[in-house]
């Protein structure tokens, strides 16, 4: 049978059209879409969209509240993405680091003796800046210490081992939150050292270690000048948004443009290859944890001052939300996580308004599942190609 270059002999199967439009998979998703739209779209239109139409002011108000919340969720989500990118590890302890940040800010505020009624605006502003630096420093080194002690030994252990170590660390940090929140311990230290500053911390914490702690309302509450009165937007909201976006931009530029940032991205792509290129992988990973810790601490202080509360279990719930945001945006991708955070904040606010607070968490996860159905690696996540 001589090999013939020409197309195969006529008696072969008749030429079938090039590529049928309706492959099985595409048909299935179209039908699914139609059912989804028909079944959900009508009630969504009739209950939610009409209501939105009635009061555009309330809609914009909720969008503003949602986006403000979204900014600090994004800051926490970045902590998850950084660590996931470099170690492929879901760092459960990151949420609790955020909680420790809130407690540390309350402790420093009490130590500095800041009081909205007595201390002047200037002293508050500068001391808050100083406290922000201190808190970020503490949580950064705490996070690096956790990595050094709990995760580094498990570097080449089975993939799920560091996950359990992270969960363990999350419980440990929650209990540290209980200790920090116990006024009696601070009393003992205050009597021991005889310093009344620590006495102030003891009063701030109260006698119940697990009860929520009240953080004094130090941020300005005035209405922002250029916003019409119908929309409530105070300097506090503005400050929270500005500081959070500043942190996001700072991190993005650090990772994008600095040498160390490149090292982090390289180690995230392929740790061994990065080592071959002379990057000290362990040091880069520690730096990543330092940055993640600093971000978590800063977010803790921002949320502490914004919501006015510090509670030992706030890290667990906020962590869950921020990790969802990081995955929604595409885990491992910094811009994606920021986008995911903003989206989650928005969904929360709108769902509180139009569906009901008790359903909000369910709505978030429902939307997450829907998005992952159509984009399996998150909004901006890149397609991890499977090579045979």
């Amino acid at each position: 049978m001589a090999a013939s270059q020409t197309p195969s002999s006529p008696q072969a199967a008749p030429l079938v059209p090039r590529e049928p439009f309706l492959t099985k998979r595409r048909a299935f998703s179209i039908v699914g879409l139609i059912i989804f739209l028909g079944f959900f779209a009508i009630p969504i239109y009739q209950t939610i969209l009409l209501e939105m139409w009635d009061s555009p002011r309330q809609l914009t108000q909720q969008i503003v509240i949602g986006l403000t919340k979204g900014t600090y969720i994004a800051v926490i989500a970045l902590g998850y993405t950084l660590v996931y990118g470099i170690l492929e590890l879901i760092n459960f302890a990151h949420g609790d680091l955020f909680m420790i940040g809130a407690f540390l800010s309350l402790i420093f505020i009490s130590l500095f003796g800041l009081d909205p009624k007595t201390s002047s605006g200037i002293t508050i502003f500068f001391s808050l800046l100083g406290i922000l630096g201190l808190v970020m420093l503490c949580t950064a080194f705490l996070n690096a210490g956790i990595e050094r002690f709990a995760y580094r030994p498990l570097r080449n252990a089975p993939r799920l081992a560091p996950l359990i170590s992270a969960i363990g660390m999350s419980f440990v940090l929650q209990n540290v939150g209980i200790f920090l929140g116990d006024g009696l311990i601070w009393d003992k230290i205050a009597d021991g050292l005889g310093s009344d500053a620590i006495g102030r911390v003891a009063d701030a914490m109260g006698t119940q270690s697990v009860a929520p702690k009240n953080i004094p309302d130090l941020l300005p509450n005035g209405q922002v000048f250029f916003i019409p009165d119908s929309l409530k937007y105070t300097y506090k909201d503005l400050l929270v948004a500005v500081v959070s976006l500043g942190l996001l931009a700072g991190l993005y530029s650090f990772v994008r443009f600095t040498k160390l940032g490149k090292a982090i991205r390289a180690t995230a792509q392929d740790r061994d290859a990065a080592r071959l290129m002379g990057i000290n992988a362990d040091r880069t990973i520690s730096v990543t944890f330092l940055i993640g810790g600093a971000l978590g601490g800063a977010a803790g202080m921002i949320v502490g001052l914004y919501n006015g509360t510090a509670l030992f279990s706030m890290g667990f719930t906020a962590g869950l939300l921020s990790f969802t945001a990081a995955v929604l945006g595409g885990i491992g991708n910094i811009l994606g996580s920021a986008l995911g955070g903003l989206l989650i904040g928005l969904i929360l606010a709108l769902s509180d308004q139009y569906i009901g607070t008790r359903w909000s968490n369910a709505v978030i996860f429902a939307i997450l599942v829907l998005i992952l159905l159509f984009r399996p690696t998150g909004l901006l996540g890149q397609e991890g190609g499977q090579k045979a």
Partner: protein, 271 residues
């Protein structure tokens, strides 16, 4: 006699890059066909389109008279196409015996209830499967003692042979071998070549193999097809293909071929 596998105008585009463009190509039943070409010629991509891992952007892949564009890899294997991988993808933490047993998965019929209540038919099927697995390991030259060795602990040559045994376990009609002798010393290569012959003769299988080792390809395949940058540049008997100037140019670059050494010794004789 209708060809076992017929590719007609097969094209595959990854975004802008056209990995395989308009390749037509046939494999006769019971023959050994070699598929060669420099690195990045689209050989493995073409392979993956046969086994359903990728869906061809254009053209038809017809196996045994049936169009298999877009069928899932597990369905393609059921139809009768077994394969090995370029870089070994065995089930590392399972024993060699279990790897071959997994190969037989699509040929076994025990349902969930059968497993839960260990029906007599289930036990019989398991026993037969185990014996067939032992026989296959024997067939490819892996002794009884390595049957319970974890796949990742086997020496390199044995792992290659285990992959062939696993592919055979799916009772294929067409066996696709992706660089089976890569990284093997001459003695192992000869043993594997001999195995491929035995497989073709004793089990009347059709074999399509990708191979860089010219001595193996030229020695073993009845017909050879050459791909370069996704295009089929030559096809035919090994000798014809060897001296085809287009093939020489593809492999050794334009300078060498231009000198036109003429019909001398095959350019890439291994000696």
């Amino acid at each position: 006699m209708a060809p076992l596998l017929q590719a007609r105008g097969i094209t595959k585009r990854f975004g802008g890059l056209t990995a395989v463009s308009d390749v037509s190509f046939e494999i006769e039943k019971g023959s050994i066909v070699g598929l060669i070409g420099p690195n990045g010629a689209g050989k493995t991509t073409f392979f993956n389109m046969i086994t359903g891992l990728y869906t061809p952007s254009d053209g038809d892949m017809i196996f045994n008279g049936q169009r298999i564009n877009g069928t899932k890899p597990s369905e393609v294997t059921k139809l009768g196409i077994g394969r090995t991988f370029q870089n070994i993808r065995l089930f590392a933490h399972m024993t060699a015996l279990e790897n071959v047993l997994v190969g037989q998965h699509c040929r076994m019929h025990t349902g969930l209830l059968g497993t839960l209540f260990r029906t007599p038919s289930m036990r019989a099927e398991e026993k037969a499967a185990r014996q067939k697995a032992f026989a296959l390991l024997e067939y490819v030259g892996l002794g009884r003692n390595s049957a319970d060795e974890m796949a990742k602990n086997l020496p390199y040559g044995d792992q290659r042979r285990l992959e062939v045994a696993r592919a055979l376990a799916t009772d294929p009609k067409l066996l696709l071998l992706d660089e089976p002798t890569a990284g093997m010393n001459p003695k192992e290569t000869d043993a594997l070549t001999e195995l491929i012959y035995r497989v073709r003769d004793e089990r009347d299988l059709t074999v399509l193999l990708i191979e860089h080792d010219m001595k193996v390809v030229m020695g073993i395949s009845e017909r050879v097809t050459v791909l370069d940058r996704g295009i089929k540049i030559s096809e035919g008997l090994p000798r014809e293909v060897q001296t085809d100037p287009k093939v020489v140019e593809a492999y050794l670059g334009t300078g060498h071929a231009a000198k036109g050494k003429g019909g001398g010794a095959p350019v890439f004789d291994k000696a």
